[in-house]
Symmetry: C2
Subunit: 216 residues, 2 copies
Amino acid sequence: MPQFPIEKRSKVSRNPNRASYDRETIYNIVDEALYCHVGFIEGESPYVIPTLHTRITSNIILHGAKDSRLMKCLQLGKEVCIAITILDGLVLARSACYHSVNYRSVVLFGRGVAINEKGEKLEALKALTEHIVRGRWKDIRKPSQQELDATAVVSIPIEAASAKIRTGPPIDALEDLDLPIWAGVIPLKLQAFEPEADPQLGAGIPVPDYVSSMRK
Amino acid sequence: MPQFPIEKRSKVSRNPNRASYDRETIYNIVDEALYCHVGFIEGESPYVIPTLHTRITSNIILHGAKDSRLMKCLQLGKEVCIAITILDGLVLARSACYHSVNYRSVVLFGRGVAINEKGEKLEALKALTEHIVRGRWKDIRKPSQQELDATAVVSIPIEAASAKIRTGPPIDALEDLDLPIWAGVIPLKLQAFEPEADPQLGAGIPVPDYVSSMRK
């Protein structure tokens, strides 16, 4: 896969050694993250809204109520910036200014295109559901026509994107290495815990494998 | 504490029952989250950048390299929107459209003011460090004058802010409650794992209590 074009808006200028424009690298981060932050402009103000996402080929898929601020902006095709961030660890150096975090992040740019065709809309909602819990779609009641009509679904073809990744131990200045200060990384991970059944759940309905297997 | 003013830009219109403008509610979310996403406008494009933050009274504190895109914008005092999101769980309903997530999020607006006075700048950097690892500041080498000069630190007085919170089990339509489909919540939490010492760490330097206690 060819890498994304390096545009002024997507070029990483700070720590360019941590940057990547490689599609596979970017898609892996997009696919692992459960949610994203969408930035857009309304009037003369910037807005940032968290929302769930998924990816179909080179398009980001978002959904929401038709009359929400975010979905209105997306349906109008205005430029948006989407940031996706996975925090992997806290990096404790010997000196204050070399403290950091390990992370994998993506910043991408594009414009929304409304998905109105029923089959395509269902495919997009399926992808959104499966992105959060793989295996779920086959089990659930599918959207009714009325539910489909109330939901806006947009596709955002990625125009430009960059990833930024930091891994590994702290990087202290040479003259600080002998200081008697603990240094290292505290790994972080978003963990799933014991599922909590809906209090209204009927008797004898087992926890599906795709739910119980999320707890590692 | 009086609540934040409800302005057009900060008013939650979707699911207003999940909204709060209460300062304590908002500060608790800001203080628990390790990082935020900052939205700003450059040229005619929206940008969103993830970064570490802390809070001092009613101000958000950010820092970074002086010549980064984000810090340049903040030092110019342009309006920014900061989103802070904590994902607490996946909410699996019986029907596709009632799937959701449990979360606590804040969206706030303000403008940066550069912190240039040395004592104030050190206090802000201390707060940023302690926000990530409480107890760390006393142990580490403090910033040199040269390091201070290379780092921009800005305070963003919060002008308007709202929180949005979802908790609890799925809310299915009444007619779906009898479907033989598992429904419930998968709790999620960002967990700390076994600390990894810097390979260059000198012998006999113990892991500090504030590091080992992060693993629960």
